[in-house]
Amino acid sequence: MPGLSEIPVGDEEELARFILKRDELRQDGTLRPLAFMAHKHVDLSVTRHRGFTVKRLWGAGRCAAVKRKLPLLGRADILAATVRLAGLDVKPAEGPGLGPKNHANIVKYPSEKSEQVHYAQILAGLARFLPVSMG
């Protein structure tokens, strides 16, 4: 039976980007482009909802927060189909056991800065923010 990292990310899959920095969130609960800003590797880490209960998904967020030494503020959910319609793609993390379970990456960000911001702004506008208090 293939591991999750070997199963392509389907269009219908929901992805979570954990929000750990206050600057990624506006006061009205909408997301800033910073929440989806790719840098360094020109790709962006996300967590696949697939196979996770809500509790386990939030557990993954708490692990990410501990690892990054930042508070978990919530998560931004977005469909893989939405990411692809915007012009990017989603790939499972390479290799079994590498990185957190259910890890995937939003890829195909352009290398030019303003274009990166453009795509980040699009995704931030289409994602749905769930505060951590919703459990």
């Binding site: 506006r26 303003s114 453009h118």
Partner: protein, 163 residues
């Protein structure tokens, strides 16, 4: 006031030095543009910038490999703050994971301008005004880019232009 110098894509260090000496005085009107923001607007932004610089002084400040905010990044961001037009609300100052400082004007869902200020004297922006999206880069040596003024004029259509 002379136009800003033409830029190469990657300015030579001599040009960068010249650029640093060309700066916009805080309180004068350029042709067709706005009076620069008053000091009571600029100072809180400068304070926000200083706090961010202290929070993001080391590499990997976000736990995902972000670059530290450098003195050069702060220097150019300060010039950007000094050049802000007075006719529009103050932006939010933010830290970009590339180690630059960024500014966001937000007038509600679907109406925003995000600008990252590059220490190489450029600004990289993305804007959304309703269904319209725009993005690009512009030189910045001290005068608020005309491109960004036009975007702000669309995001805040009821703001008056002060000359």
């Amino acid at each position: 006031m002379p136009d800003p110098p033409m830029l190469l894509e990657h300015p030579h260090s001599a040009q960068a030095s010249y650029a640093r000496s060309w700066s916009t005085a805080p309180d004068f009107a350029t042709e067709g543009a706005m009076v620069a923001a008053a000091s009571d607007v600029r100072q809180p932004l400068l304070n926000q910038m200083s706090e961010l610089a202290m929070d993001c002084w080391r590499d990997d400040w976000d736990g995902e490999g972000a670059a530290r905010v450098s003195a050069e990044a702060c220097d150019v961001a300060q010039r950007f703050i000094n050049a802000l037009p007075g006719a529009y609300p103050a932006p939010q100052v933010l830290a970009d994971p590339d180690g630059w400082l960024a500014f966001e004007w937000y007038a509600g869902p679907g109406n925003s301008l995000f600008v990252s200020v590059d220490p190489a004297f450029r600004v990289h922006y993305a804007a959304e005004v309703g269904a319209d999206k725009d993005y690009g880069s512009a030189a910045f040596f001290g005068r608020f880019p005309e491109t960004l003024l036009q975007v702000l004029g669309r995001i805040y259509p009821h703001r008056l232009c002060l000359v």
